[in-house]
Symmetry: C2
Subunit: 351 residues, 2 copies
């Protein structure tokens, strides 16, 4: 009566079919909840599925149906909490749509990005969510993924001009407005000498944030002192080291700084402390990203909330929509950011 399940081989539709005396096709219909099958048959089949411990082989199904049930997520960096949250959001949203996340980390190397994209492509993802590595460029990406693979660019623009065929979707943060809001906030608090601290000028997001800063300064009629633009790598460590560059004596030192992101701001906090300054009392600063530490550091950091997890969910939704409508016009989504005021943005000391 009770056949033994096959050993050393996975259970297939055929095993189930012969196990309960129906055809492969019927079992397939049961699996897909087709209304065609008779109730009694369905019950018999479902019992047999459980009995033999069947697991669906989605790869085989995808092959036949010419569909995909995965999306590739290629990130320049996973260690940064911003991207980790983003990835978690992507995975969550993809998962609840029945898709699976193919992960790829490029560690900011354009060469690895090429390799990773190529390797992931062979697994037939329906689409790709890409946060490009620093010097990645559009032509190389197009060359490896081809013109027909749906791609969603996140967070950064690709270097090089966009090729003709690449009608790629984009999901970007409103960097300029965010930096504008932060700068304006410091100005309203009474600051006049405000620096822009951290980031590299060849990063598109840094340029946009810097533009927002300039915009706010000019709107308030405040002077923009070139020495108050201090570049550094977007890491805590480098930011701490570069702190002294803010306090060259030639013009009066700034009383506040708009930082490229939270990591840089946390580094600046450290650097200020090492100089004997009390961040949030003697010197005001703002961040960007609202990572978890921003709320918990001392002083708590005024920053721009980008809601990375929600961005991840949004990215997943966008790419899934694209899968359903491959022909629709490409679109660029700019996610709003929100100023979160905390204690790091104190008013200036009245001299």
């Amino acid at each position: 009566m009770s056949n033994t399940p096959p050993i050393g081989r996975k259970v297939t539709l055929n095993d189930i079919a012969s196990g309960c005396g129906v055809s492969r096709a019927t079992v397939s219909l049961v699996l897909r909840d087709s209304p065609l099958v008779n109730k009694l048959t369905r019950i018999r089949v479902e019992q047999e599925l459980r009995r033999q411990g069947y697991v669906y082989n989605r790869a085989a199904a995808n092959l036949r149906r010419r569909t995909s049930s995965s999306v590739a997520l290629v990130l320049n960096e996973l260690t940064n909490p911003f991207f980790a949250e983003f990835a978690a959001g992507v995975d969550e949203a993809l998962g609840s749509a029945g898709f699976v996340t193919l992960l790829g980390c490029t560690s900011e190397s354009a060469a690895r990005e090429q390799a990773v994209l190529g390797s992931l492509l062979e697994h037939g993802p329906g689409g790709i969510i890409l946060s490009p590595a620093e010097h990645s460029n559009a032509h190389d990406v197009l060359a490896t993924i081809g013109p027909r693979t749906p791609l969603l660019l996140f967070n950064r623009e690709l270097g090089g001009s966009l090729p003709e065929f690449a009608h790629w979707d984009q999901l970007m943060l409103d960097n300029q407005r965010g930096a504008f809001l932060a700068t304006e906030h410091l100005i309203v608090r009474g600051h006049q000498r405000i620096a822009f601290f951290g980031g590299h000028h060849d990063s598109s997001s840094c340029r946009q944030r810097h533009a927002g800063y300039i915009q706010a300064m000019q709107a308030a009629g405040l002077p923009v002192e070139p020495l108050w633009r201090v570049e550094c790598a977007p890491t805590r460590l480098d930011a701490a080291h570069r702190t002294s560059a803010l306090f060259t004596t030639s013009p009066a030192a700034p009383t506040a700084a708009v930082c490229y992101n939270d990591a840089v701001a946390l580094g600046l906090i450290l650097g200020l402390q090492q100089r004997g300054l009390r961040p949030g009392q003697d010197f005001a600063l703002t961040g960007f990203d609202d990572i978890a530490e921003a709320e918990l550091c001392m002083p708590p950091l005024t920053t721009l909330s980008t809601a990375p997890r929600e961005r991840g969910q949004q990215a997943a939704k966008l790419i899934l929509q694209r899968l359903q409508q491959p022909q629709a016009d490409s679109r660029k989504t700019i996610a709003p950011v929100q100023l979160v005021v905390r204690e790091s943005s104190c008013p200036p000391i009245v001299a």
Copy 2:
């Protein structure tokens, strides 16, 4: 002469074959670098592959060969930098072995873990790397993945007794020895009233670390005061809130604390500051994990380095070995941890 590549459909072996007048089988041999094919034929085929922009369909190949080229990575948490680093390490090592990472996040929910495992399994990963959710248990996991899927347990043990069939590999940190080292270090510095702060007792890693603490205290003949065992969630926020529990007046307050992990230690730093105590001067503390912030916070944190990225690479290697030798005996690997002494573990104030 030059056929157009097919439109709206992916290029297949057949397209290449008919494109340069050989059989499908020959093209397949070329792709796999078989020595059987003639040099001239190989060149012709390779040209055609490039010309049509062929991408290998690994899913189809895996179906035929009954192999897999992916590994599932299921994590209880991705936001924690420890796990993010770990994931990056896994992905890196899998990638360079030609495997792809199927990501799954469970957010500490055993129910989600079941769902995620089930969904990932359908994509036919060769094996699974699992860092279990808090209340996950062995029987449920066995029920969904079956006895034949290779699984590597990372970081935590599974609740419930291990079922008969589940000969699962394990990669654990040497929690007990780590906590022992931290405690011993504080004792050598002259502390006698040392607390164990943070974590929940139903977490296996917390029990192990606590055991290491007890071991060191007893080895030094120091009393273990029950009030100095303060439980809290392993987050910065909860740790900050629970700080006051260390300073109930009944016995003399402790002068140092061994913290469950870095997150808790950072929370404790915050809590101490809020009470007007200077961590690293008035009170000594140690962490566990050596996350990036440990080096950069104030004061820099004495902690145990677990090298999460290396652990990730190690986990990938272990699961890949298991794939090659499914029958080998299961093994439990305990990764060493290393004490990193920084400024948070000051000597006690001589009263």
